[in-house]
Structure formats: structure tokens, C-alpha cells
């Protein structure tokens, strides 16, 4: 508390923690967002892609001569691509690393929708018409569309140069699972669990306008959400340096990880822009997006064995996992280690073995879909816990509480050296049960029996690990030169004293402009309204680092950590100038209400605008030895070390947000139709910068999860034909499919992040865990057949209720 009548810093309003109005809303509500298809240039050519109609085929010939006869048409073929580019870098070591992946197919197509020829023309219509004139002669090959099928003897080989359909494999073994299985009182064995293939399908598809100039390289106005990842693949492929690419994103209509791996398409456009010497404009159709952008990872868990003690302590698990990543490994096989950020889930399991394979099939390549790799694993764990509860007669609530990592055990080191920063899972469970009215629903569940409807209650616990340590890549391939994480931000004062923030991120609705302004406002003593945050990422601004982008639930830590650092550096500049001009010590200066004040002498103060003028336009008043720029970059690095590649041991993420959902649903016994009666969520993402933004993320993730478990599935037939290529067949959830979601929050601040916030947003796939648990509860009222799949439309639930004998399950007891 200040001793004088000067400014009392403690009384300054803190903007962090408030649900301030969103800066983004003004333009978006008016329809004035700038999305990637909004860009136009005179003389631009429009691109239409010729794509493979087959899941697997040899390409015998490609003839573009008829198409090129049309006036103004320019084409690009796979053989031109192979002359002008090198294959995209691969993350996997050999044999997977031998895969040759180009932006257009060569002599083989490996998934339905794979681009084969690019056609550019002066109008959209002409591009489509010209594409129809491209003659591609395909010889269909046998396709393989399941993980189990692709690893079986005699399966068609997708990549000759790899020699196997297993692109990468590693067995992770921590603790002593064999000892645990031997000494356990019970072993619960589950033959197979399957996490299905789906996608967040952002409402805006991928799009870009690409320009080339001989001196400067390429400018890409696009909606890629991780341009630095893209450039690290594109630059070597195009045989040039990363500096020759300028990515400009403004508003992006949703990303969810699906817009991370669009770099092959951007490469096509770069080649065309250089060939045609014209601006090249491409916008993905919805069906192209669904079949050609990226799908979520599809993971099959086999031969699951779970040792359990009489008192309900679960000692760990043994499992073989096959991760189906489609035809090409792009972000993969990083998924092969990213799950290990959350190896034991929220539980105290110490003995874990996972035999993990990344396998290729004739399906769309996987991309890091929201919840990436962790949610597949976390669903598996919740299924295991839920099934153990049912089969060994434990209460699902008590069994979880008993096995949870306890609040007093944080920071908690998992068996593979990840450090969970903070949390209180039992409290979240209690809050969720209270919010939903657990006792009341249990009573109603009993009353419903015999009525033709069955009520099920399910619990799902998940983690949203945030701020990856990219050293995890070394666990895949020790030669990969990646570790840590980082983000850049710039804070500067413009000529009349306005605070301007520039971010390295590429947001797609996560309210970065708003929360960044809150953080800077607190530090600089202004209101968020007085902070101008520039939209999107523009690498031309020079504010980015190798990990820049918006992905993986980390902005609150990395992005806002960078903003905090930049604002603190800017503040230091302002304080130095103010101290010099006010003739006080730097310690005496406080920034508040848009001015610099002396704490001890209230008469001494200077508005920021005037202060800034002395640096920018009126600087003879500045002492000669004072070096300030009022233009400060900051590169935030989370405190992480490279993991040990031999033992796969080390901390892979800085923060661990958690969510816990409870779902009550009703199943019509005759049809299998599911209706959600009640749905509650408890969120803990540490210190919330903007509670309204956090809740929006929880809602959104919950809706996509509910959609996946009940409505949305990317289905292939055995020839590799994708059967759900548009929103008619791929049933993206609407307002009548998603219930109201009631929620509450607790805050377990992270001791490791700059502000105590934890990254959040992806949501960890919680509804998948929760709804399948509720269905298991329904099944228990019939024959107790296991819920083994993440996708449960009515026909699956119908079958579940009628399957006797609990196939796929064995319980042995000592």
C-alpha cells in the first residue's frame, strides 16, 4: 500500500480474469471479416484440381493437351512437380522416412481425392471445364482401408520405397507391466477398442491467393494455421530458403488442426504462380475439403490387458495400438509420441506398455485434428477404467476417485517423466455430479427400466496438455533438430502513443486479439480498448519463430507469454524515458490511466502520447545515452528440456488443463436412438485470462465431441471410396443435435506458466469418453456388452443392446 497520496497500484483494475468484450466482434458481426477467399488480384487465374477417383491406382498416363488448348489455361502435372521440387521432408526415420511425398501424384494415387493435375484458368468456370478435359488413365489397384488389414500378410503395399505399411513403430515400456499382470488380483482383458475417423471440418475450407515475383519470392494470402510448419516443408521442396515465403492470414473460419497440413496445396499454387507468372487463386470445395484436406487419427487398440487389485487399484495397462494415418505421413508420426504427454491419463497408473505402430492405408492423410493423439489415448484409458468398474463391480465414481492422481500429489511426474503441473480431479467430479443432480438421475434411471427407454449416466475425465515440447519429435527420430517451443510477439508505441501488438499466431476464432490486449493493458496501464492488436499472422511483419501458429492448446502460455514479455520490455523503455523526463528514479515510475506517473510526487506525470513523441518526433529532449526504441520483440520459451530418447523419458508439455463431463442420456430400446437428457462440464485451465472465451472453447469442443460420438464418421468402403464426402452424408452437428451444456470452472493455477494460465481449447475429446461411458451404463442394464467404438449411431447402439455373452472381454481372477 502506497505511503503517499500518489497512485495506488493495487487499485488499478486488472483486465486479466475479466470477460471483456471481444475486439474481433465488430468486424465479424458486420460480415467484414477478411477470409482467404476474399482476396483478389487483377489478372488472377483460378485453380481447379483433378483428383483421383480411386482409393488406390497406378497412373498410366496423364494428358493435358486438350485442356491446354483452351485460351488462358495453364496446367501443372506430377512429372513437372518431380522435376521442379524435391519430396517433402519426412519426420520418421527409415523405413518410413523413405516415403516420397510430392504435392501432386506421380505414377500412383493412394487415396480418393489425391490431387493429380492442377488446372489454372482466367475464370472459375473455365478452370472446371478445362479440368474435365484432362485425361488421366488409371489402373485400379487393390486398396487397403483398415489398420489391421494393412499390417496383415499380403496387404497391398502403399509405398514401394518404404517396403512396409508400418511407417513407424516403437514399444514404450515404463514400470513393470509384466510383474503387475502376474501379481494382480484380477486381469481385465479387452480384445479390441476402436477410435474412429472423423474431422472437425471447419466451416471455411482451405483457400489461398499466391503471387510470385522473381526478386522476392512468394506471397501467400491463405488460411494455413501454422505457416512456420508449412514453410519448413515447402522451402526445401521448392529448393529455396524460408525467407522467400510471406504468409498472410487475416480471419480464418475455423482451423481445429485441419488447416495445418495444407502445405502440399500451397506448394502446387507456388509452382503455378511461378509458371504462369500470374496470381493464382484456389478455394477448396467442401467435398474436396472432406476428402482431401486432413482427417483425424483413427486408432485401434488391441490385446488390452489391465491388472487390478482387489481394492480397485488399477496398476496400469498393456496394449498394442495401430494408428491409421491414411496414405501419407505429414504431421505424422508425431502422433506416435504426442499421446505420451498423457500416458496414464488422470490416474496414478505406474506400469504401462504400449506397442505403437503408425500405419498407412488408402485413405486421406491424417492431420492434427482437435484433441490430436491425446484424445485417442485418453478415450482408451477412460474406457478401460469404466469397463473395469463394470466388470469387477466397482462404483464408477469411487473407482475413479481412488485411482485419480490426488490434489496433494502435484506437480506429479508420470511414469514417462511428464510433469502434470496442478489439478484437482476429485473436486471436478464432485462438482459435475452435483451440477447434474447425480442422485436424482440414478433414481430416474431405475424408474425408467421397463418403460422402453433406458437411461445411462456416464463420466469422462480428460486432459488438455498444452505447450508441447517439440523435443518429443526426437523420440520418433533422434536426428530431428526440434525441441522446446516458443512464440514471438511485438509491442510498440505508435507515433501518438497508441499501443500496438503484433502476434506470431494465426487465430481461427480463439479471441487472441482480445486476450492479448488484456495482458498488455495490465502491464502498460491502459484499457484494452486502447490497445490495437493487428489481425492474423503476416510473416512480412517479422514477428514469428519456428513454432509460430495457432494449434495445440498453447496460446495462453506461449502466445500470451510472448505478449507479456514484449509488453514488459516496452514498459521498461517507457519507464526509462519517463524517469529521464520527469527527473525521478525508474523505481518511482508507475504506468496507469494512459500516463506515466511518479508514485511519490503526484504532480509529476506525463501522458503516454507526449512521452512517445519525445522518442519518435521530438527527440532532442531525450538524454544522449538513453537507447530506447519503443518497439520491442519478445520470444517466449517455455522451460523445457530435451527428453531422453532411449528411455522415452522427459517432460513433453508444460501445462495440463483438465475437463470432466457428466452425461445423462436416454436410449430407445427398440431403435437404439440416443437422446442426451443432461450434459454438464467442469473445466480447469488454471488462471483464466477471459472466462467467457474459455467457456466458448469448452462448448465448442463439447459439441464437436458429441457430434463425433453420435453423428459424424468418415466412412470408407473396401475399395477406398469415401462415402461421406459432403455435409449431407457427413452429419456435422446442428443446433438440434447438441444439447445445452451447463458448466462451471475451477482454477488450479499452473506453477510453470508466466501467468498461471494453462493452454486450453482442444478439449481432449471429453464427450467421446463421457457418452461411451453413459452407453456402457445403458448396456449394463441389458447384457453388458462392451462399448468398443467411439462412434455410436443408432444401429450400433441397437446391436449393443442385443449382444449377449460380452464378446471380446475376459476377466481372470486369482
Amino acid at each position: 500500500m502506497s505511503q503517499t497520496t500518489g497512485i495506488d497500484v493495487a487499485e488499478q483494475q486488472e483486465w486479466k480474469g475479466q470477460s471483456t468484450d471481444r475486439k474481433e466482434d465488430g468486424r465479424l458481426l458486420r460480415g467484414e471479416g477478411r477470409f482467404a477467399d476474399d482476396w483478389n488480384r487483377p489478372g488472377q487465374l483460378y485453380v481447379h484440381l483433378v483428383r483421383s477417383p480411386y482409393g488406390h491406382a497406378r497412373v498410366r498416363s496423364v494428358d493435358v493437351s486438350e485442356a491446354e488448348e483452351l485460351s488462358g489455361v495453364v496446367t501443372l502435372t506430377g512429372s513437372e512437380v518431380r522435376e521442379q521440387t524435391d519430396p517433402f521432408q519426412q519426420l520418421a526415420p527409415p523405413p518410413g522416412g523413405e516415403m516420397r511425398d510430392y504435392c501432386l501424384a506421380g505414377d500412383r494415387v493412394r487415396f480418393m481425392g489425391e490431387p493429380v493435375v492442377a488446372v489454372a484458368a482466367p475464370t472459375r468456370r473455365l478452370a472446371r471445364d478445362a479440368a474435365e478435359l484432362v485425361r488421366v488413365d488409371y489402373e485400379p489397384l487393390e486398396a487397403v482401408t483398415t489398420a489391421e488389414g494393412t499390417v496383415a500378410d499380403g496387404a497391398p503395399l502403399l509405398h514401394e520405397e518404404v517396403g512396409t505399411n508400418v511407417a513407424w513403430q516403437r514399444t514404450f515400456d515404463w514400470g513393470d507391466i509384466d510383474g503387475a499382470l502376474e501379481h494382480a488380483d484380477h486381469v481385465v482383458s479387452i480384445d479390441r477398442l476402436h477410435f474412429h475417423r472423423f474431422s472437425s471440418t471447419p466451416l471455411e475450407a482451405s483457400a489461398a491467393l499466391v503471387e510470385y515475383d522473381e526478386g522476392g519470392g512468394w506471397t501467400l494470402h491463405c488460411n494455413n494455421q501454422m505457416p512456420q510448419f508449412a514453410v519448413m516443408f515447402m522451402a526445401p521442396a521448392l529448393r529455396t530458403t524460408t525467407a522467400r515465403f510471406r504468409y498472410v492470414t487475416k480471419d480464418i473460419g475455423g482451423g481445429f488442426g485441419i488447416k495445418i497440413t495444407s502445405y502440399p496445396y500451397l506448394t502446387i499454387l507456388c509452382l503455378l504462380a511461378r509458371k504462369a507468372r500470374r496470381p493464382i487463386k484456389w478455394t477448396e470445395w467442401r467435398s474436396e475439403h472432406i476428402m482431401g484436406s486432413a482427417h483425424g487419427n483413427e486408432r485401434t487398440f488391441l490385446d488390452v490387458r489391465v491388472p487390478v487389485l482387489d481394492d480397485g487399484t488399477i496398476l496400469g495397462f498393456d496394449v498394442r495400438a495401430l494408428d491409421d494415418v491414411g496414405a501419407y505421413t505429414r504431421y505424422e508420426p508425431l502422433g506416435g509420441v504426442i499421446w505420451s504427454q498423457v500416458t496414464p491419463g488422470c490416474y496414478r497408473f505406474r506400469n504401462i506398455r504400449v506397442d505403437y505402430s503408425t500405419v498407412v492405408t488408402n485413405k486421406t492423410p491424417a492431420g492434427p485434428n482437435r484433441g490430436y493423439s491425446r484424445m485417442q489415448h485418453l478415450w482408451f484409458i477412460e474406457r478401460v477404467v469404466d469397463i473395469v468398474a463394470h466388470e469387477l463391480g466397482f462404483d464408477p465414481v469411487e473407482l475413479r476417485k481412488q485411482n485419480y492422481i490426488q490434489p496433494d500429489e502435484f506437480p506429479y511426474e508420470t511414469p514417462n517423466g511428464c510433469v502434470y503441473d496442478s489439478g484437482d480431479y476429485p473436486r471436478m467430479l464432485d462438482l459435475a455430479l452435483e451440477m447434474v443432480g447425480h442422485d436424482d438421475w440414478r433414481r430416474r434411471r431405475e424408474e425408467a427400466r421397463g418403460s422402453g427407454k433406458l437411461i445411462g449416466i456416464g463420466i469422462g475425465t480428460t486432459l488438455d496438455s498444452g505447450a508441447n515440447n517439440f523435443g518429443q519429435a526426437q523420440l520418433i527420430n533422434p536426428h530431428l533438430p526440434y525441441s522446446g517451443n516458443g512464440e514471438m510477439a511485438n509491442a510498440r508505441m505508435d507515433l501518438f502513443g497508441e499501443v500496438v501488438l503484433t502476434l506470431g499466431t494465426a487465430p481461427q476464432g480463439q479471441s487472441h486479439e482480445t486476450t492479448a490486449a488484456q495482458v498488455a493493458a495490465d502491464i502498460l496501464g491502459v484499457a484494452p480498448d486502447e490497445v490495437f492488436v493487428r489481425t492474423g499472422q503476416d510473416t512480412g511483419r517479422g514477428v514469428y519463430t519456428g513454432f509460430s501458429g495457432t494449434y495445440a492448446s498453447q496460446f495462453a502460455v506461449t502466445g500470451l507469454g510472448a505478449v507479456q514479455g514484449a509488453a514488459e520490455a516496452l514498459k521498461a523503455d517507457l519507464v526509462a524515458v519517463a524517469a529521464a523526463l520527469l527527473e525521478v528514479s525508474e523505481e518511482d515510475v508507475v504506468l496507469a490511466d494512459g500516463a506515466a506517473h511518479s508514485k511519490t510526487d503526484p504532480e509529476k506525470s506525463m501522458a503516454l502520447g507526449e512521452l512517445v513523441g519525445v522518442v519518435h518526433t521530438n527527440n532532442t529532449a531525450l538524454p544522449d545515452d538513453l537507447e530506447v526504441t519503443l518497439n520491442r520483440n519478445y520470444l517466449y520459451r517455455p522451460p523445457l528440456s530435451a527428453p531422453d530418447t532411449e528411455s522415452a523419458f522427459g517432460n513433453l508439455t508444460l501445462t495440463y488443463a483438465a475437463q470432466l463431463h457428466v452425461c445423462v442420456l436416454e436410449v430407445d430400446e427398440e431403435t437404439g436412438q440416443v437422446e442426451i437428457l443432461d450434459y454438464v462440464a467442469v473445466d480447469d485451465c488454471g488462471r483464466r485470462i477471459n472466462p467467457m472465451v474459455v467457456e466458448g472453447q469448452v462448448h465448442g469442443a463439447a459439441a464437436l465431441g458429441i457430434g463425433a460420438v453420435l453423428n459424424e464418421s468418415l466412412v470408407y468402403d473396401e475399395d477406398g471410396q469415401l462415402l461421406s464426402t459432403n455435409f449431407l452424408d457427413y452429419k456435422a452437428v446442428t443446433s438440434v443435435d447438441v444439447p445445452d451444456i451447463r458448466m462451471t470452472d475451477i482454477e488450479s493455477p499452473s506453477p510453470f506458466s508466466p501467468s498461471g494460465a494453462k493452454g486450453m481449447g482442444e478439449g481432449g475429446g471429453t464427450p467421446l469418453h463421457t457418452v461411451t461411458a453413459a452407453l456402457q451404463d445403458v448396456s449394463a442394464q441389458r447384457h453388458g456388452a462392451l462399448v468398443t467404438d467411439t462412434h455410436n449411431p443408432a444401429e450400433t447402439v441397437h446391436r449393443l443392446l442385443r449382444t449377449e455373452g460380452k464378446p471380446g472381454l475376459q476377466v481372470t481372477s486369482n
Binding site: G31, N40, P202, E204, D251, T283, G509, F727, D740
Partner: protein
């Protein structure tokens, strides 16, 4: 005009947000592409190929339609209203303010269509129940918000 070639284009006159336009359009031009490409009205967006997502929604003579499901030639003589008409004298409407206050938008891509669907619903049903709201906007897909806050925003706008 040659009698052996069928006519493939024609002149249309269409009013969009109170401004009249006269343009030559191809017979197969969709209204959404006419609005975006010919008139540069980027507040109308494309979200799908099959008329399932509602992102392209506009009002056509006061009626909510999907502009991807209509040909430009069908708009000849029509009055089209886009989200740009909701604000008055540059001030956001009560409905738009309610969307902001209730965080009913994140990426903003579905928002123009969603606002028009909400406007259309409230014009027909001034005091809708939650069920009526959900059914009223079920033609508009949103991948960001889970609809929770959109429903709340419409409820709040209806209440005021």
C-alpha cells in the same frame, strides 16, 4: 443473335442492401457467386457444396434462403438483404450486440448467415422457446460455438 446457339447469359437487375445493380450473368451462375464475385460482397460466404450448411444465407424478398441454392437469374427483380443491412447508421443492431455480449461467435464465418437466420426467426416468432430457437437455426452449421451461446444470444435479443 445466332439461332443455332442457345442463350447462356442474360442481364439481371437486383437490389442488394438497398443498392441496385445491373449485371450480365451466366445462366448457371449461382446467386452466392454472383454476390461474392460479380458484386464483391464478401459478407456472403460459402461453406459447402450441397446446401447443407447455411453459411450463404441471405434474405430474398424478406425470406431466408440459401444463396447457393438459387441461380443468379432467379434474383432478377428481387431485393436481397445481407448481414450488412442489420446495422443501422453504422451502429450494431440489438441482435448483433446480443451476439457479442453472449460470445455467440468465435471465428465469425457462420455469423452472417446465423444472424439472418436469427433475424428471420425472431421476425416470425418474437418470443421463441429454446426448442423453437434450435429448430429455427438448425439450417446453419457452426463448428466453433456448439450453439450454446448462439441460443442464449437469441433468447436475450428476444427478451429485450
Amino acid at each position: 443473335m445466332s439461332t443455332t446457339q442457345p442463350q447462356t447469359s442474360t442481364q439481371i437487375t437486383v437490389t442488394v442492401d438497398d443498392i441496385e445493380y445491373q449485371r450480365e450473368v451466366e445462366a448457371s451462375d449461382l446467386l452466392v457467386h454472383f454476390l461474392r464475385d460479380a458484386l464483391q460482397l464478401t459478407q456472403v460466404v460459402v461453406g459447402c457444396d450441397t446446401g447443407n450448411c447455411g453459411a450463404c444465407s441471405v434474405l430474398w424478398n424478406g425470406r431466408l434462403i440459401k444463396s447457393c441454392m438459387m441461380l443468379a437469374v432467379q434474383a432478377d427483380g428481387a431485393e436481397i438483404t445481407t448481414v450488412a443491412s442489420l446495422a443501422e447508421d453504422g451502429e450494431l443492431s440489438g441482435l448483433q450486440e446480443s451476439f457479442s455480449e453472449n460470445h455467440a461467435l468465435q471465428c465469425g464465418y457462420c455469423t452472417p448467415g446465423m444472424l439472418l437466420a436469427a433475424r428471420s426467426l425472431l421476425d416470425r416468432t418474437p418470443e421463441p422457446s429454446e426448442d423453437q430457437i434450435r429448430r429455427g437455426i438448425k439450417g446453419n452449421i457452426c463448428r466453433c460455438t456448439g450453439y450454446v451461446n448462439i441460443v442464449r444470444a437469441i433468447q436475450a435479443a428476444a427478451g429485450s
